[in-house]
């Protein structure tokens, strides 16, 4: 029997400021612009928004700040903060709120000035006394510790990590909106400056500014709006730890659980998915999520990417916008995975468009492999 939330809601509007280097714009400026664009995209007005979902690394009270700036008085709101995966947690929360009548028009939004603020994440009041004495470089050293363990357990190589960065760049070269589009080779990645072994500068995502927003509503209303709806067929979320020292198994993430939940709700499996977006803050992320979401056996993602599967022309297109590694990464990237999935389902992606995409999977990560969220979107044909 079909899950009661399957296909009951749809993403009907998307907004992306594409302002990756925007001096003089605050995180709230980016967010507001994205919100306006997303509402215009679906022909709705700011006054229609009665469900507000947001998280910002620069605001401890994001819902209050954003509602004030947008001039809205939501009757449902959620400011869950689990790092970059927050917006996919918000999507799951919005689905339930919409289906149960707590709101009719959900706006999920984000904005950041991480690049022009100096390229650093805002310090969160979240001290970690059991890690601080050892000065790990956050967040890269945490991912480096996971990469080292994956290499130890499965024989994954630095060259395979490099192939992830090269595939992302090859996609970015097909995306006029990607921030970095210069050619990139495996040798260039391998000879890039080491930052926290085994990860080099080229294994690390961009640092950009940016703003993103989506509008979600119930499926029956979505059909009356101007854009082709991206139906939300399934979502799943999971949380496993805060700090990397408390991650149960550094070579396996709780994307296993978020993925299984999303597949169960959607009634599909990885074999049905021909386009996916995974949150590639670091090259190791892509390998971990390909495995944990079931696109290959554990330990085999390195071989998969080196065979060209995820690159342009490959049988499993991944991160077709160029990903966090080459398109954009304004601190928390999760909402951008959903936006590219929607654009692929709409057929709006130009040179990077995958033919006949009916199902797309967007997966986001937060903290240091701490929170995981998976969403499966589909066209009307998949309902």
């Amino acid at each position: 029997m079909s899950h009661p939330l399957r296909g009951k809601t749809a993403i009907v509007g998307i907004g992306n400021t594409k302002r990756w280097n925007a001096p003089g714009r605050s995180p709230f400026d980016q967010l507001q612009e994205a919100a306006v664009l997303a509402l215009e995209d679906c022909g709705l007005r700011m006054g229609d928004v009665d469900g507000l979902f947001c998280a910002m690394s620069t605001s401890g009270l994001p819902v209050l700040n954003v509602a004030e700036r947008l001039g809205i008085n939501p009757r449902h709101a959620d400011g869950t903060m689990v790092g970059g995966a927050s917006f996919l947690f918000h999507l799951q929360s919005a689905m339930s709120a919409l289906v149960n009548g707590l709101c009719d028009t959900a706006l999920i939004c984000y904005g950041s000035n991480q690049l022009t603020a100096g390229g650093k994440l805002a310090a969160m009041p979240d001290p970690q006394p059991y890690e601080a004495p050892f000065k790990p470089r956050y967040p890269i050293s945490s991912y480096a510790l996971a990469a080292a363990r994956h290499m130890h357990e499965y024989g994954t190589t630095r060259a395979q990590l490099a192939d992830v960065a090269v595939a992302a760049r090859d996609w970015a070269r097909l995306n006029p909106d990607a921030y970095v589009r210069d050619p990139l080779t495996r040798d260039q990645v391998l000879s890039s400056r080491m930052v926290s072994d085994p990860l080099t500068r080229a294994d690390i995502c961009l640092v950009t500014d940016g703003g993103a927003a989506i509008v979600v509503t119930r499926a029956e209303r979505a059909r009356d709006l101007p854009r082709k709806p991206a139906y939300v067929l399934g979502t799943g979320v999971a949380v496993s730890h805060r700090q990397i020292s408390a991650m149960p198994d550094l070579a396996t993430t709780c994307a296993v659980e978020s993925g299984q939940r999303a597949y169960a709700m959607a009634g599909v499996g990885p074999k049905h998915i021909r386009h996916l977006m995974v949150y590639d803050a670091f090259t190791i992320n892509t390998l971990l999520f390909l495995e944990d979401l079931g696109f290959c056996a554990k330990g085999e993602a390195g071989a998969l990417v080196s065979g060209g599967a995820i690159s342009p022309g490959g049988q499993l297109p991944v991160n077709t916008n160029g990903g966090g590694l080459s398109c954009n990464h304004p601190g928390m990237y999760g909402l951008f995975t959903l936006i590219e999935s929607v654009q692929q389902l709409r057929g709006e992606c130009g040179a990077r468009q995958i033919d006949g995409v009916e199902l797309s999977l967007a997966h986001a990560n937060g903290g240091v492999l701490s929170s995981q969220a998976t969403a499966i979107l589909g066209t009307a044909a998949t309902l």
Binding site: Y130, A146, A148, S196, I244, L250
Partner: protein, 129 residues
Amino acid sequence: MATDPRFDGPGPDAQYLQALNEGRLMLQHCEDCASVRFPPALVCRSCGSPRLTWRLSPGAGTVYTATTVRDKAGDYNVALVELEGGARMMSRIEDVPSQEVRIGQRVSGRIVAGDEPYVVFTLADGAAA
């Protein structure tokens, strides 16, 4: 006011730090499922039980994973060490070049005293990856 006596006394972080300051590495053992807990907390992470007992750890363990942080002032090691019994903690492996730290090496801990004491490790005699 009648508080629950099971939770009387200093909190788990304070008890851990106090023991380190007295030269002892103490870890919490669950009386219900036998898992070892680190960092300290009020409940067992494996089974949710609040019945945790402090026991002295000999500080012996193995390197679970490690990285070298490349800093302008010099490279340094950051490692996760799995202590015998199962608890895992972030630390560093000292007295060996960071590049020579390998997953699986046997290590032994020592306490660095101070306002916020912590545990570092050195390679155990005859340790090999």
